[in-house]
């Protein structure tokens, strides 16, 4: 039988605030254990949560970017369960009245555009972290992360392959980074997801029994885990069995998912409105003000790069993935007039390569847009050859300086005037009579060899285009 996978994702995006969602403790990553956990985060008696205005602002920004309805009044609820990394015995979340309602996100996969429905997005606090193996027979608890603001973004179950799910997650990642609401750092857990997967007979419109795969923190793991889960469920169904509704964990080392808990011990969270927190209101004025701060969205930016600059979609997406790269690209298009495509190629080629080799993040690009702009302009006007440009690039990457100064200092200026090249070309023709005969006999490919000889004689400084033109003139003219 043919089966159709049905996939929905719940993505947790950590909101880029300085302080926690309900307390004034810091949210910075990597601090020593428990130095960023205050009385509110520890759930001490007598403390009260006070909502962080910026967390609300960032959630609204996201809602507006996906064309969602923003609830004029949303409510925080307590989600009750016991776990040592949750000192209060409940997580403050939103349940019946989330701040962001129904919206959608457009994704592109294999040249197809798909509109992925987003059911809701709600604000909640993160839990702490359990640390194993510090003291034997004990689990260590670090509550620095407790109370960090999260936006949980829930998609409709409308994706039908692991690749679609990953394409959606990537688009979402690009979006939150562009909006500046989340740093998107997946290694640090700032952007992670749970995947709901079920199978149904092709053509059916009732959903099959689903499993939920928890805590996937890389695009690759999302793809592998969903693929594994689809295969696992297909095998069960093909054998006439039944999928058990359960929560599963993905093990990247074994590349498989395994049972974490089944429906029988599923949590009964007993949600109820948190009496410590008043409903959150967002006014029409707030919406108008926040809407006015929205940047150009990544999908629009990619389309603009394709339409206005003639870039391929893949290259455009590569530049737009990182807001800092997109900004660098746009800044590199001036002040000198340069072909955008050449600038894009330098960024996705040389710049990315050099960043990788140096292990640097894009925010740490050691060259300025003005440097790249001048370099591309100098290739365009023939001052420097493509090969010479790479030498200039290396020099400005490691020591700084403007291309014009480097070209001057290292004598990389290309010789283009025919007077200087003339003599060299004459020499080459005189020194290679056999090749000249071959060329004249119709073996036009031999021209490349002769150009090479002339380039060598000029120590690489001659403009190959000029050399080639002059050679043809002289040989054909004879």
């Amino acid at each position: 039988m043919e089966w159709q996978p049905v996939i929905g994702l719940e993505v947790h995006a950590q909101l880029a605030t300085q302080s926690k969602i309900f307390s004034g403790a810091a949210t910075a990553y990597g601090a020593a254990p428990n130095v960023q956990a205050c009385g509110v985060d520890l759930g001490l008696p007598g403390v009260l949560p006070v909502l962080n205005a910026q967390a609300v602002e960032l959630a609204v920004r996201f809602g507006l970017a996906i064309d969602a309805e923003i609830a004029p009044c949303s409510v925080f609820a307590r989600k009750n369960y016991f776990y040592p990394d949750l000192p209060k015995g409940y997580q403050i979340s939103q349940y019946e009245h989330p701040i962001v309602g129904c919206g959608h996100l457009r994704i592109t996969l294999d040249e197809r555009e798909l509109d992925i429905g987003i059911t809701r997005a709600h604000l909640e606090e993160d839990a702490g972290k359990s640390v194993h193996g510090v003291v034997s027979g004990r689990t260590g608890i670090d509550l620095n992360r407790a109370g960090t603001p999260l936006l949980e973004i829930v998609s409709e179950p409308v994706m039908h392959s692991a690749r679609e799910a990953v394409a959606y997650m990537r688009e979402l990642h690009r979006l939150v980074r562009h909006l500046g609401i989340c740093d998107g750092n997946m290694q640090e857990g700032s952007f992670r997801c749970d995947a709901n997967v079920s199978l149904r007979p092709a053509g059916s419109d009732t959903l099959g029994t689903r499993t939920e795969i928890k805590n996937l923190n890389s695009f690759r793991f999302v793809e592998r885990a969903i693929e594994f889960e689809i295969e696992r469920q297909r095998d069960i169904l093909e054998d006439g069995g039944k999928v058990v509704q359960e929560t599963r964990l993905y093990d990247p080392d074994k590349d498989e998912t395994r049972t974490m808990r089944t429906k029988e011990d599923a949590h009964d969270y007993r949600y109820f409105p948190d009496p410590d927190l008043l409903p959150v209101s967002v006014s029409a004025d707030d919406l108008a003000r926040i809407r006015a701060t929205l940047p150009e969205l990544p999908a629009a930016r990619i389309a603009r790069y394709v339409d206005d600059y003639g870039l391929g979609r893949e290259d455009a997406a590569l530049l737009v993935n990182e807001p800092a790269v997109a900004a660098f690209f746009e800044a590199s298009l001036g002040p000198l007039e340069v072909p955008a495509k050449a600038v894009a190629n330098w960024i996705t080629g040389e710049v990315f390569g050099a960043l990788n080799r140096a292990g640097l993040a894009v925010d740490d690009i050691p060259i300025t847009p003005a440097m790249l702009n001048q370099l591309v302009a100098r290739i365009g006007d023939g001052t420097v050859s493509g090969k010479g440009a790479k030498t200039v690039f290396q020099a400005m990457w490691s020591e700084g300086g403007l291309p014009d100064d480097i070209i001057e200092a290292q004598g990389l200026k290309q010789v283009s005037d025919s007077g200087a090249i003339d003599a060299i070309v004459d020499e080459v023709i005189a020194a290679n009579p056999a090749q000249v005969q071959d060329y004249l006999a119709g073996k036009e490919k031999i021209l490349g060899y002769l150009v090479g000889q002339a380039m060598k004689a000029s120590k690489g400084k001659a403009n190959p285009a000029a050399v080639s033109a002059l050679l043809v003139d002289k040989l054909k003219g004879d």
């Binding site: 300085q18 004034g24 130095v35 956990a37 006070v50 009044c73 689990t139 670090d142």
Partner: protein
């Protein structure tokens, strides 16, 4: 409204309360009468009434996103039964 012995055990487990088997009928009776008491409200006609999220008809005052709490780990951990390397220690938890 009748709460069964099964319900009592489930509620006790969710609240991590250990209760004696012999007390279960007592709790079942008490919980049932609490629910019966509250159930009187079902007689009120609430058609067209907006659900109430909080008895105060106000909306939340928000705080500015600034770090106001500095590190007080030493004082806070003074009340903890067990700590090591800055971590609070609890009996080992295995997923």
């Amino acid at each position: 409204m009748s709460i069964s012995a099964v319900d009592v055990r489930a509620i006790a487990r969710l609240a991590r309360l250990s209760i004696a088997e012999s007390d279960i009928p007592v709790y079942a009776g008490q919980l049932s009468s609490i629910l019966d008491f509250v159930a009187q409200m079902n007689a009120v006609d609430t058609a067209g009434v907006e659900p109430l999220a909080h008895p105060l008809e106000l909306s939340a005052r928000l705080r500015a996103d600034t770090v106001t709490e500095t590190d007080r780990r030493t004082e806070l951990q003074a009340g903890a039964p067990e700590t090591a390397d800055g971590l609070y220690l609890v009996p080992q938890v295995i997923e």
